[in-house]
Symmetry: C2
Subunit: 255 residues, 2 copies
């Protein structure tokens, strides 16, 4: 399919690469900032523009990949009212695109993108929504060129899914970061924890997280919980996190 990407951040970059890898044509990249427009266009080997009134009109799908706050604004300036316009956000409802086109949808890849870390799309769920059935079929063709995991998910479900993803990804990474800080204060290498982190993720690839919970709060071992809270005395921020999350585990398994 022929695609134009609006936005040149993490999501736009990774999607652009994946569209091309999936055999699609990326006709053009749009970004307000010349520097990022040319950079991504250079990488993808396509044209670029910094003006919405210069958008290539030949694409099948126009993919907005900008921050949530900027989606509505960009949609309002989108000039091709009969073209399929989608955004890639977990949180933003589909209908903010209504000012942009009569044909709207959502193309939400459920993954964490860091610009420098290459990602294979083969295993990434892509969640689709479209106002019209024929547009859904278009989006499904595009999604299946990237991945075997294509889901139809409406705006309400997608918002909840995004909240869940914040827990499973962003908050998880913060736990890693806190652990790294605690080790660093002690002069211990983060490498000590990497096998544990890998195994903790591996265990829920087949199993359910509830069945895999271990640790002092799961065992309701108050002595260890108190000891750990004491060990974090010099860091009230992390101590408070420790206590709050432990209470949540106690509540889930021992209420």
């Amino acid at each position: 399919m022929k695609v134009v990407i609006l936005g040149s951040g993490n999501v736009g970059t990774h999607l652009g690469r994946a569209f091309i890898a999936g055999g699609n044509d990326v006709l053009q990249v749009y970004s307000r900032r010349m520097e990022s427009a040319t950079k991504l266009a250079g990488e993808l080997g396509c044209a670029f523009t910094t003006r919405t009134d210069s958008l290539n009109t030949a694409a099948d799908v126009y993919v907005i990949a900008v921050t949530d706050d900027a989606i509505a604004d960009l949609a309002a300036r989108f000039p091709l009212k009969e073209k399929l316009l989608v955004h890639t956000s977990g949180t933003t409802p589909m209908d903010v695109l209504q000012t942009g086109s009569s044909r709207i949808g959502v193309f939400y890849p459920l993954q964490t993108f860091s610009k420098e870390v290459p990602v294979s799309f083969r295993n990434i769920p892509v969640c689709l929504e479209a106002a019209a059935g024929s547009d859904m079929q278009q989006l499904e063709i595009l999604a299946r060129s990237l991945t075997g995991k294509v889901y139809r998910i409406d705006s309400t479900d997608r918002q909840k899914l995004h909240v869940a993803a914040v827990f499973a990804c962003n908050f998880v990474n913060h736990m890693y970061a806190v652990a790294a800080d605690i080790l660093e204060e002690q002069g211990l290498p983060f490498d000590l924890l990497r096998p544990l982190i890998e195994e903790t993720a591996r265990k829920v690839m087949k199993g359910e997280p509830d069945d895999m919970q271990t640790g002092p709060a799961r065992r309701k071992n108050q002595k260890v919980l108190d000891k750990h809270s004491e060990l974090l005395a010099e860091n009230p921020e992390y101590r408070s996190l420790y206590v709050t999350i432990s209470k949540s585990i106690l509540k889930k398994y021992h209420a």
Copy 2:
């Protein structure tokens, strides 16, 4: 080496299997409860006892693998005052073993053990401590029969390491569990999140967690944070977790 295992829980079970896989002799399993003693002894193909005064006296190392609260008690009843006695706990200081033997140490495998989930020890860090240099050498031989990752870590460092491990493993799994609950309420499959979970762990196998942090709190996107908090209105417990952890991320990257 010749080993006796005192305790038949998750850690005792996994260590017993790993000792044998590493070419060691497990001479005997001790457990207060006949049923678990015979079960683990049957699996390991060794003798068992439920009485500390019937412990096999021919082992090189006696490994206590019971809950933290029970270690001191069991050590006090350990009758072989000249034998190397170690525990496997992250939190308990080495010196609680002093009532048991004049030769004491710690053999702490840094991993999460669920009884039904097989674990390869090859990649697991084992953290060692010993009161005497000659006993440290013995423990190093035993540890190296299981893994290439052997660390000398004293009781103070080990306690901090254990706190860090609670964040990196137990709290991480709780984040998975909360995410699974949110999806389940919405009738969405947990499978949607598994590729994201895998990738989130994979990214810190080489990188530092701080560099990999993504999400609304990292981007200081208050609108999305408010929206998510609103979406969790029906679950005050998870809403409060969401707000607390988001604040911690904001503080770390935007203070």
